[in-house]
Amino acid sequence: MSSTPVALPALGDRRLRVTQAHVALSEWTKFRSLRSTIWSLGVGFLLTIALPLLFATVTANRWAHMSVQERADRHPLDIALAGVNVAQLAIAVLGVLVITGEYSTGMIRASFTAVPKRLPVLWAKLGVFAAVSFVVTLPAVLIAFYGSQAILARHHILQISLGAPGVLRAEIGGALYVMLVGVFALAIGAIVRSTAGGIAAFAGIFFVIPPLMNVLPTSWNNAISQYLPSEAGRQLFSLHHSPHSLNVLPGGLLFLAYCAVAVAVAAVLLVRRDV
C-alpha cells in the first residue's frame, strides 16, 4: 500500500444512472460473490437429488417384506419429490440471509447510498433469488425423478411416466414451491432485519405452527390447516388432494398471496425505516 498516488481518474461517461436492470446486475454480482451462498445452493441441490435416491433404494430393498397395504401407500412421486422438503429449508435460510447479511455487516448502508430509492434493491434481490432458486431446483427434482425411477425400475416396481397426468405439473410445482418459499423467506428477512430472527420466524410459520394444529379439535384442524402457507403451497407438488386440502390452483394462488403480502409489508417498511 503506497501512500503517493492520489490522482483521480475522471469518469468519462456522464450518462450513468440507476436503473432496475443495473440494480439487478448488481444484485447478481452480490449473490454470486459470496462463498456461503454457493455452498448452500450446492448442498441444497445435492440433497434434493440424494434423498429420493436413498428412499428409492430403501423402498426397493424392503419391497419383498412389505404388506399389500404398505405397498399401496408408496407413491413414486412422493419419493421423487422427497428432496423438496430439504431444499425448502436450504433456500429459506439463504433467502433470509440475502437481506439480513447486509444488515448484520452494514453493507445495507452502501447499498442504499448507491440506490437511495431502495425499492429497486428489494425487487432485484427478489428477482435474482427467485430465478436462481427455480433454475437450481427444477433440474434437481427432474434428476431426482429419473434417478429414483431408474432404481425402482431394476425391481420393476412403482413405475410412473413424466407424461402421466399431473406428474410433470407436480415436478414443476415442486420447483415453483421452493422458489416461492425463497421469496417468502427473503421478505421475512427484510421485515425482521436479523438473521436469527428471520430464520426463527420462517421456521415458526412453516415447521412449528402446522403440527400444533393437531392439538386442536379435528374439525377445527381440518378447517384451518389447509389455509396455512405451507399446506396451501404444498398442493403445488401434491398429486393427490384429500377432502381437507385445497386443490392445486387455489392452493398455489393462496400461497402466492401470502408471499405477496409478505413482500408488500417488506417494501413499505424498507422505504419507511431508517437504516
Partner: protein
C-alpha cells in the same frame, strides 16, 4: 454544495440533531467538528437519506439525495460505520456498487489501483485491517467521480501513513474543485486540512466560520514576555485595562496590550527583552472553549486534561 435548513432528528425522545442550518460550499475543505455524540454522523446519514429527518430539510446540489438519477455521481460518502459485507472481496464489493449505476469494470480496477489495494483486491473484506477498510471506503466514495465528497471521521484509528494519505487526498479533492465535507472530533486534524468549519455540539450549530476566524474569536490576545528586568517592566505596563501574570521568574503573561505596545514601553524604560511572543489560542483550546457546555459525556476529573480524551 450541501444545504441544510432546520435539520432535526429525534431518536425516540432523544434529539440527535437540533435545527441545524448550514451550507457546505464547493472548492474548499469544510470541517464538520463536534464532540463524539454531537450528531455529526446522524447529520451525514440525513444528507444521504439513510435516515429521515424529523423536521427540516437537506438538499445536495439542489435536490434531495434520493431524487438524483445517479446519486453516486453527486455525493461520494465514507461513513464511519463499516459498510462492506465481510464475506465479499474488495473487487466484487466495488463492482456490485458500480453496476447499480452502469459504471464499468475498468473504473473499478482503476480505483483499486488508486487506493493501493491491488494486491488484496481478491481477498475478503472481512480480513482487511482498518487502514485497508478505509481505503476500500474511499474507493467506494470515488466510484461515481462525485462533485461532493463526504467523509465521516476518515482518520479515526489510522496509522501515520494512512493519516497522511487521507490528508493529501482531501487537499487534492478540494483543489479539483470538489466540495469536501469531512467530520472529526479532533480539532488538530481540522487545523491541518480544513478551510472552513462547521462546529456542532449536542446537535446544535455552535459556529459556521473560517478556521482563522474561529481561532481569532477564541483567542485571548495574550503576549508572553521574557525579560531579566521583569519586575520593573511589570510596574511600567500594568494599569486598569492591562493584566500581568508572573508565570515564572522573568516570565510575564500580559493581556490588554499588543506586542508592539509592550516593546515600545520596554524601549522607553530601557528594559532588556529576551522574548516577546503574541499567544494565539490553539484551535484545540478554541474548540474546547466553545464546546465546553455541549460535550455530551464529561470526564469525571478535568484536572489534567488530555485534549483528545476531553473531547472524545
Amino acid at each position: 454544495m450541501i444545504e441544510a435548513t432546520g435539520l432535526t432528528k429525534d431518536y425516540g425522545d432523544k434529539r440527535a440533531v437540533d435545527g441545524l442550518s448550514f451550507t457546505v460550499r464547493p472548492g474548499i475543505v469544510t470541517g464538520f467538528l463536534g464532540p463524539n455524540g454531537s450528531g455529526k454522523s446522524t447529520t451525514m446519514r440525513l444528507i444521504l437519506g439513510l435516515d429521515r429527518p424529523t423536521a427540516g430539510d437537506v438538499v445536495v446540489n439542489g435536490k434531495h439525495y434520493r431524487d438524483h438519477s445517479a446519486p453516486l455521481c453527486e455525493v461520494g460518502a465514507l461513513l464511519e460505520a463499516r459498510s462492506t459485507h465481510t464475506g465479499r472481496s474488495a473487487y466484487n464489493h466495488l463492482l456490485s456498487l458500480a453496476q447499480t449505476h452502469g459504471i464499468g469494470r475498468r473504473r473499478v480496477a482503476e480505483l483499486i489501483d488508486l487506493v493501493g489495494l491491488h494486491d488484496v483486491a481478491r481477498k475478503r473484506a472481512g480480513q482487511f485491517s482498518l487502514g485497508m477498510g478505509q481505503r476500500l471506503g474511499i474507493a467506494t466514495a470515488m466510484l461515481g467521480d462525485p462533485a461532493t465528497v463526504m467523509l465521516d471521521e476518515p482518520v479515526n484509528g489510522l496509522d501515520p501513513e494512512g493519516i497522511h494519505w487521507i490528508r493529501t487526498l482531501l487537499r487534492r479533492l478540494a483543489s479539483e474543485g470538489r466540495t469536501v465535507f469531512v467530520s472529526s472530533h479532533l480539532m488538530s486534524e481540522m487545523a491541518l486540512t480544513a478551510d472552513h468549519l462547521i462546529v456542532i455540539g449536542r446537535g446544535r450549530l455552535i459556529a459556521d466560520t473560517s478556521v482563522a476566524e474561529f481561532t481569532h474569536r477564541a483567542s485571548k490576545n495574550l503576549v508572553l514576555v521574557r525579560s531579566p528586568q521583569a519586575e520593573e517592566l511589570r510596574n511600567a505596563v500594568v494599569g486598569p485595562d492591562v493584566g500581568v501574570v508572573v508565570r515564572a521568574p522573568g516570565l510575564l503573561e500580559v493581556s490588554g496590550l499588543t506586542a508592539a505596545q509592550i516593546g515600545e514601553a520596554a524601549a522607553a524604560g530601557g528594559f532588556v527583552l529576551h522574548e516577546l511572543t503574541p499567544q494565539q489560542a490553539s484551535l484545540e483550546e478554541a474548540f474546547m472553549e466553545l464546546t465546553r457546555d455541549d460535550v455530551e459525556y464529561h470526564v469525571a476529573d478535568p484536572g489534567a486534561p488530555d485534549p483528545e480524551v476531553m473531547v472524545a
